[in-house]
């Protein structure tokens, strides 16, 4: 063998040649090669001939000889694909109605998904833009007194808002800490710039390390030193524009609180919208320090948000065990109160923090989950339409499939044919959805502040992901129909009396059922959410909030001095019914204060309730009910020195279930001692997300910052105008600013309202898509039964019996869907309602209303076609046999 082998040319190379050579040339060139080899063997010997052969084969491997790629198998496949697309296109055009339902449904579903994805991505992006966000943390604090002092507070009890010295102490005690940075909240501040007065609510004091800890963009100024010196201020771009127009604001002077001149040392870009804490300007912390040095040493005075960064390679775990020690070191000598510290990552501040007194709005993980689920649901509903319509109508394609198989199509090529057809549909839907997204993006921005630019969509990353998404959707929606269709046996199909299998019908029913369940859940959700919102807005708050105007004067000394005279002046206006002054009003900012009150056993117990500083008119003005004791009185001078009123929740906190019993007990709060003189009923001074917290009210003439005015229902603009004129006359040093308390109070529900609006829009879309699917299915099943209906009519069936006949199948499914959806939706809704302390009760009417709504929608979708079919003259359907 081996011998003979050497007589013949090298086999491997011959095979290689046969593989690459153009089949048209193969025979004669191979002949030439062999002839040459044989002659060479005779002449120069075997070895040289074999070598020569190898060289010839290699030299033959050139473009003119190699078989062309296009002319072989692969060309064939491209042609087949071309054919698939042609057929697909023809099919789409021929069945415009079904194609439209599929494309519209998928397109709308994809649009919802993209919008939701952008929204959720935005929510998740909060604070990620800070370069050091991975190692930035914030300090949480809580004071515990009395019997509770030994138990550490729960996560919800910690406050983000805390004292000043803890920041410096962190840096001193913990070598892991790199920098700390404190902010005060942006209480209303009087600012004079360019000779104009402004009441600014969002200018904060901030430590000089701001631009080291956070990555906000400083446009001009040195980030290391902008806030080093007292009386420096950094403005955001928009605030600089507001104050100085297009002039360069750098180096200009801004006067804070009438006498503190601050130099603009830096201009920064506006704080990005995806920040848990925003402000419009920062005054250097040293300015604040110069005003009130004592609070910077006080571990009990609360007015700061403290952030800190860790050194690289340090972990927060190494700090956590040392927190209790730090608290003990600085506050261990406190008698009745224990100070607790905790830390949390800044990245979690927006979505994952449960601590109280947040510096800005927080997001809701539940809402994000709900929205993501809705997005998936809507897409599923659209995919189900797709599956249902394609499988239901598979009969139409049976003949085509039969012929293709007879001609020699393999199962796999049929699958790829149908898949490519579905991909085309999905592609159309994708294009539709992209245009819809661009069209809808302004609304999304208005609703949620999430901005979608064309550049967010037309970039490689997004388009890549999007194409992947389309392929996945095409696969989800298309693979079952494709495999089902390609399974048909040509012998059965072509014989003529072919019926789709029972399994397809069962699956279709299951999918329709699933759609119904999702739709019903979404409708129940929508109704409940709106229900809850109306409930919140109509909830008896325990105080009056209609027609009440609030004007702020920001602790102005002159006003405080003459407060009663000014009140009298305003009251002279015939449209002002009554007036009172206070530091806080419901729905607005208030401080907490360490407070000791005597308990039933005569022991002073300390807690930290909310503090309202009011004048004696406040309680009657807001119509707050007094449960025991009395209100403050101008007649009793001592009321402003040694009297305290508390609410019922506070009375309970100190262990008095009967409010009468706490009257006359001793108290000690903020340097004031005396007796509790009254207990008021709980009124909701915060949003109804939370229950009424303990509250203390004190009469403090020199802590007033706001007037509340009850005005008559007449011409409100005129009334405001006359009040403004009076203001300019009485308080010229302050800008006139006002708001209505009910507007302000309802602001707290704005994010809930947005949630409701978004939720309901998506629910409507989901219902719309499901409705489209139903129309498609009934149209088809009615068309299938044209003959049957014709015969029934001939036999005497009425239109209504036929409509009933066609609707029966879906009605059964609908009933079943209700049985499944009610517990499912109940569970989800309870989870959402748990966000609120005051919940609406879910009456049976919600389910009834849903049943009626869904019933009507389904009925409309079904009867659209079934009535049309039922009304047809049987002659038409029976004639052509």
């Amino acid at each position: 063998m081996a011998r003979q082998n050497r007589q013949s040319p090298p086999k491997l190379f011959l095979q290689f040649f046969r593989w690459y050579c153009n089949p048209d040339y193969l025979e004669d060139i191979e002949g030439d090669l062999l002839e040459r080899f044989e002659r060479g063997k005779e002449g120069r010997g075997r070895k040289s001939a074999r070598l020569r052969f190898v060289i010839e084969v290699i030299l033959l491997f050139r473009p003119g000889i190699i078989r062309s790629i296009a002319s072989t198998q692969k060309l064939n496949q491209i042609d087949m694909f071309k054919n698939y697309y042609k057929i697909a296109w023809r099919h789409i055009i021929k069945e415009k109605f079904y194609s439209l339902i599929n494309i519209a449904g998928l397109g709308v579903g994809l649009t919802c998904c993209i919008l939701i994805a952008f929204f959720v991505m935005h929510e998740l992006s909060y604070d990620n833009y800070h370069q050091k966000s991975d190692r930035t943390y914030r300090i949480l604090q809580e004071y515990r007194s009395g019997s509770e002092r030994a138990t550490a507070p729960a996560a919800e009890e910690y406050q983000v808002w805390g004292n000043a010295p803890v920041g410096p102490a962190f840096k001193e005690e913990f070598p892991e800490v790199d920098q700390f940075c404190r902010f005060t909240p942006g209480h209303s501040k009087l600012i004079m710039a360019n000779d104009e007065l402004y009441d600014e609510k969002n200018i904060v004091f901030g430590d000089s390390t701001v631009f080291d800890v956070f990555s906000w963009d400083l446009l001009s100024g040195n980030p290391q030193s902008v806030l080093d010196n007292p009386n420096s201020i950094v403005l955001t771009e928009s605030l600089a524009k507001k104050y100085f127009g297009n002039e360069n604001a750098m180096g200009k002077t801004v006067i804070y609180n009438e006498d503190v001149a601050c130099i603009v040392t830096g201009i920064m870009k506006d704080v990005p919208i995806n920040s848990h804490f925003t402000f419009e300007g920062i005054i250097s912390m040293s300015t604040f320090y110069n005003q009130r040095q004592s609070i910077f040493e006080s571990w009990g005075y609360v007015d700061f948000y403290t952030y800190f960064t860790l050194k690289e390679n340090s972990t927060i775990e190494s700090i956590k065990p040392k927190l209790a020690g730090l608290a003990e070191k600085y506050t261990g000598d406190w008698e009745n109160t224990k100070f607790y510290i905790d830390v949390e990552p800044m990245k979690e501040a927006y979505l994952n923090s449960v601590a109280a007194r947040q510096p800005g709005k927080t997001g809701s993980k539940t809402n994000n989950t709900i929205f993501s689920l809705i997005g998936v649901f809507i897409l599923l509903i659209a995919c189900i339409n797709f599956i249902n319509l394609s499988t239901a109508r598979s009969l139409e394609r049976a003949k085509e499939i039969g012929i293709r198989k007879v001609v020699g199509a393999r199962k796999l090529s049929l699958v790829s044919q149908f898949l490519s057809e579905f991909f085309i549909l999905a592609l159309f839907a994708g294009v539709l959805s992209l245009s819809l997204v661009l069209l809808l993006s302004p609304y999304l921005k208005e609703f949620t502040g999430v901005n979608i630019e064309a550049s967010d969509i037309f970039n490689i990353e997004f388009l890549g992901l999007f194409s992947l998404g389309i392929i996945i959707v095409g696969l989800i929606a298309g693979s079952y129909p494709a495999f089902l269709l390609s399974k048909f046996q040509p012998s059965k199909v072509l014989r003529g009396n072919f019926k789709t299998g029972k399994s397809g019908v069962a699956l279709r029913k299951a999918l329709v059922l699933f759609q119904f369940v999702l739709t019903i859940t979404l409708i129940i959700g929508t109704i409940t959410i709106y229900n809850q919102l109306t409930y919140l807005q109509n909830h008896e708050l325990g105080f009056e909030k209609d027609q009440i105007l609030v004007m702020e004067f920001g602790f102005d000394g002159e006003v405080q001095e003459n407060i009663e005279a000014i009140k009298n002046e305003f009251e002279k206006d015939p449209n002002v019914l009554s007036i009172c002054a206070s530091r806080a009003v419901p729905g607005n900012f208030f401080p907490n204060g360490g407070t000791e009150i005597e308990n039933a056993d005569g022991i002073m117990i300390s807690h930290s309730p909310a503090v309202y500083e009011i004048d004696p008119d406040f309680l009657s003005f807001y119509n707050i009910k007094i449960l025991a004791g009395r209100s403050f009185s101008y007649a009793q001078y001592s009321d402003s020195v040694e009297a305290l009123i508390i609410n019922n929740a506070a009375a309970k906190l100190w262990g008095y279930n009967n409010p009468e019993d706490i009257i006359g007990k001793n108290f000690d709060q903020w340097g004031k001692t005396g007796k509790v003189i009254g207990v008021v009923d709980d009124f909701n001074y915060l949003s109804l997300h939370s229950a009424v917290e303990p509250l203390t009210l004190r009469f403090e003439p020199y802590s007033m910052a706001k007037f509340s005015l009850k005005i008559s229902t007449g011409s409100i603009p005129l009334t405001i105008k006359s009040i403004e004129e009076k203001w300019k006359e009485l308080i010229p040093q302050r800008p006139f600013s006002y708001y209505f308390i009910d507007d302000n109070f309802d602001k707290q529900y704005r994010s809930d309202e947005k949630f409701a609006q978004l939720f309901s829009s998506f629910a409507v879309l989901a219902i719309f898509i499901a409705g489209l699917g139903l129309i498609g299915l009934t149209t088809y099943s009615a068309a299938q039964r044209t003959k049957e209906i014709g015969i029934r009519k001939v036999m005497g069936a009425s239109v209504s019996t036929i409509v009933l006949l066609l609707s029966k199948e879906f009605s059964k499914l609908l009933a079943l869907a209700f049985i499944i959806a009610i517990p499912a939706s109940w569970y989800g809704i309870q989870a959402w309602l748990n966000n609120f302390a005051y919940k609406v009760t879910m009456g049976a009417w919600v389910y009834l209303l849903t049943a009626v709504t869904v019933g009507i929608i389904v009925l409309i979708s079904i009867s659209w076609q079934s009535i049309k079919v039922a009304l047809q003259n049987p002659v038409n359907s029976l004639r052509n046999e």
């Binding site: 040339y25 025979e27 004669d28 060139i29 191979e30 002949g31 030439d32 090669l33 062999l34 002839e35 040459r36 044989e38 002659r39 060289i55 010839e56 290699i58 030299l59 033959l60 491997f61 050139r62 473009p63 003119g64 000889i65």
Partner: protein, 109 residues
């Protein structure tokens, strides 16, 4: 005319095919070229040119009989088309024209 650019090798292959007349198949062409021009030619080089010339319709080809020495494979015989002959003649005339225009003293030195 003169637009059919024939390469030097192409021209030689055409001429050889013409010389061999009815016997012009791959190996015969190579042998003829090797003996007359003392020039090594690989099958690959020749075959690409042959196919190219055929595509440009200077040549046609047909299969011959099977022979034993070639492992039972048929030979492909090439022959000049009318067009091929015409182009070859044209080239020859152009060359001759050039040669006759050459002044005698140009080569005499």
């Amino acid at each position: 005319m003169g637009n059919h650019h024939l390469g030097e090798f192409e021209e030689i292959v055409l001429l050889t095919v013409a010389i061999l007349h009815d016997e012009a198949y791959g190996i015969a062409i190579i042998n003829e070229m090797e003996t007359r021009l003392h020039r090594k030619v690989s099958i690959g080089a020749l075959q690409t040119v042959l196919r190219r010339l055929e595509k440009k319709s200077f040549l046609t080809s047909k299969f011959g009989e099977k022979t034993k020495i070639r492992g039972g494979k048929r030979k492909r015989f090439f022959s000049l088309t009318l067009y091929g002959k015409k182009v070859l003649t044209e080239i020859k005339e152009q060359r001759m024209g050039l040669w006759s225009a050459l002044p005698e003293f140009a080569f005499s030195s």
